[in-house]
Amino acid sequence: MTHSSGQDADQHGAGQQDPAAGHELDRGSMTGAKALWATLANHGISTVFGYPGGAIMPVYDALTFYPEVRHVLARHEQGAIHAAEGWAKATGEIGVCIATSGPGATNLVTGLADAMLDSVPLLAITGNVARHLMGTDAFQEADITGITLPITKHNYVVREVEELPRVIAEAIRIARSGRPGPVLVDIPKDIQLAAYHGEVAYPHARPEHPAPKPEAIARAKELLLAAKKPVIMAGGGSLDASAEITALARAWDIPVITTLMGLGAFPSSDPLWLGMPGMHGSVAANRAISEADVLLGIGLRFDDRVTGRVNGFAPNAAIIHVELDAAEIGKIVRVGVPVRGDATVAARMLTEGAYKLDLPDWHAQIEEWKTRTVTPTEWSAGFAVKSVVDRLRPDDILSSDVGQHQMLAAQLARFEKPRRWINSGGLGTMGFGFPAAIGAGMAEPGVTSVVIAGDGGFQMTLQELATLKMYDIRNVKICIINNSFLGMVRQWQELFHEKRYSEVWLGDSNPDFVKLAEAYDVPGYRASNAEELPGMIDAWLADPKSALLEIVVPHEHGVFPMVPAGAALYEMIETEPPRKQPTPDLSAEMMAAAEEAKNA
């Protein structure tokens, strides 16, 4: 299906009726499937991502009666759910995806686990076989609620058509409330078809977050007042408290570290910003954590990639942990002052009566650490990533896939506001970036949605190029950093496995990415050196359509600084160690080895 006008397609989706006529539309008699769409529409859900199949057909049939909701046909259920995640991460609102039973449902599993670990509000709707067939190993039957039980915030099987709207409304409430997460609703086919005579459900009021206890805030303030080396660490749970946290840090004059998930919660142009902590964190952030005497953590869960070796994490600091999810407080690190509650309210309370700390020595020390940031100047993946991210405007959305380019983007990109950085932090899902950028781009058609991916990860979900084509999406810009390797695994093999490059070489089998894009009517560009890169970036960004830019970079660059697995943050390797044996022509060497293996 093609569309002559991209604008039109963006707004209305494929093959649907004019929404202006919505109130006059004859929707026919009410069924479970129609009640589903009506409930979604009542909740203000404008776009869903999905893929049809046998057991969800009644829902797709009912869709034609509900032009209020735009359906985006992905090319794989994983693409659909990652796009829904991208939508949710960019807007902060719930993302919705739909799949059929069996394989359709199991293809959502990766996305659900991803959304669970990154606390993404998500509603996944799956069809299932009719109730009388459930449990009989029927065609395309899978126990998707059983499968997804540990990777969803909650899940449901709808047992009666009467409860369907209520379950959908409750699922949306659960997904959005408190610490957000994915909720799956499995709807047997006969329930989708059944006549429905009840009312359609309306949105639940969002339950209020618990307010922090004043005693806890008072104790936190006492610690801050006495601090000589304080630091604030803001995570993914602080994105919606960005303004309050910024005010808090400036009022107390405390430096701020933003985690991988929290990038954008504090403006990076502010001199108080120290960058990202953890395995590939900045020198300033990791040193500041290691030296700090008070660490104020807001909306984060002290992931192992952030803490490094736990007993070496912030060894001198009293930790104040502001967190909505009580189970995260004290789970990993010992917390001096637990503050359970909403980050926005907590930050506001901590700002009241703030005292501007006068700590010139601490700030001078931090400034010295900041100078140890290495800016890539020679042709490398880092150079390429920096050239691209430097071109982003403050409103543009940057998505990334998973691997070296993700860490480089997180190190080098500068965000002035939250929800402009979209990546798979907790699960580290290769293939996430591109569909997420489509979802984010569709949520905000007015901004450019750039995705940086590797040559490996892009090939996991590249079929979504067809989604770009189908909906004539014009604001998604794909940048492939092509080093012909699964670079992050290669880097570890180089550092920890004596350079035995086991199953990481893609160079001989990678497609021609420019031709690949052009096969989907997506313009392709390629740059292979520093001279031609700026011109290519200009052309790529200026292209009126969504476009792909392949940047061919050297094979063996690593990402640094790096905290080796099992080491403490203060044991970080700050710069790339010189190679003992540089591999002069890796491609030739690899090909010779492959040839040898073939002949053997």
């Binding site: 909650h154 409304a169 409750e170 309306y202 009580a326």
Partner: protein
């Protein structure tokens, strides 16, 4: 950091949970324990005075930190309505066991005498075996089983411990260990949370 002092050795903790009677609620809870590596020594489930609500009592083994974490994770499950931490107030707990003991004409009298000492009831009488019902706390039941072991235990089944907060805690404040008042005279749940709270001012599309 999960460092704890020597006095914080792994031991049994009693935790009760009020849960909604929804499909798979038991799976959700046991899967959570399994996934996060918490040890359940016993688990018993039964209906409550509220339709649609069940109550479970777990015996969780671990240090205090592990049990706290387990309770916090349980609280996050949508079908869990309330967690009752029995380490905060005095409680009564009971366990019931059925024990089938082999008997011979020689041992019959002695077995019956021991059972009587434990105030155990005989629930089944056979020529070659007697089945006893014993109720009590864990120590009593363990002692009973040990006493019967020499005669030849054919089968046993224990219900697992069940517990309620003592109503008398309200009369004896020292029986409440946490700050604040006893929870004991409050109904464990006021009511099951209403399923639908409607937000107004949303246009009905019909």
């Amino acid at each position: 950091m999960n460092e704890h002092t020597l006095t914080d050795q792994p031991k049994d903790h009693l935790v009760s949970a009020l849960v909604r009677d929804e499909p798979r609620v038991l799976t959700r809870i046991t899967a959570l324990f399994g996934r996060r590596g918490y040890n359940i020594r016993s688990l018993s489930v039964g209906a409550t005075e509220h339709p649609g609500l069940s109550r479970m009592t777990f015996v969780v083994t671990g240090d205090r930190g592990v049990v706290e974490q387990a309770m916090r994770q349980l609280e996050k499950l949508h079908d869990v309505v309330r967690i009752i931490d029995h380490s905060l107030e005095k409680f009564v707990d009971r366990e019931l066991v059925l024990v089938k003991v082999a008997i011979s004409p020689d041992s019959r009298v002695e077995v019956r005498q021991i059972a009587e000492d434990f105030r155990s009831r005989i629930v089944d009488v056979g020529r070659h075996a007697l089945t006893f019902e014993v109720t009590g706390d864990e120590g009593k039941i363990t002692a009973f089983i040990e006493q019967m072991r020499p005669f030849g235990i054919l089968e046993t089944m224990r219900t697992g411990r069940i517990a309620l907060t003592r109503g008398s805690n309200a009369d004896i404040p020292s029986h409440v260990y946490h700050d604040g008042e006893t929870q004991t005279l409050r109904p464990a749940v006021e009511s099951v949370e209403p399923r639908e709270e409607r937000a107004r001012d949303v246009p009905n599309l019909f």
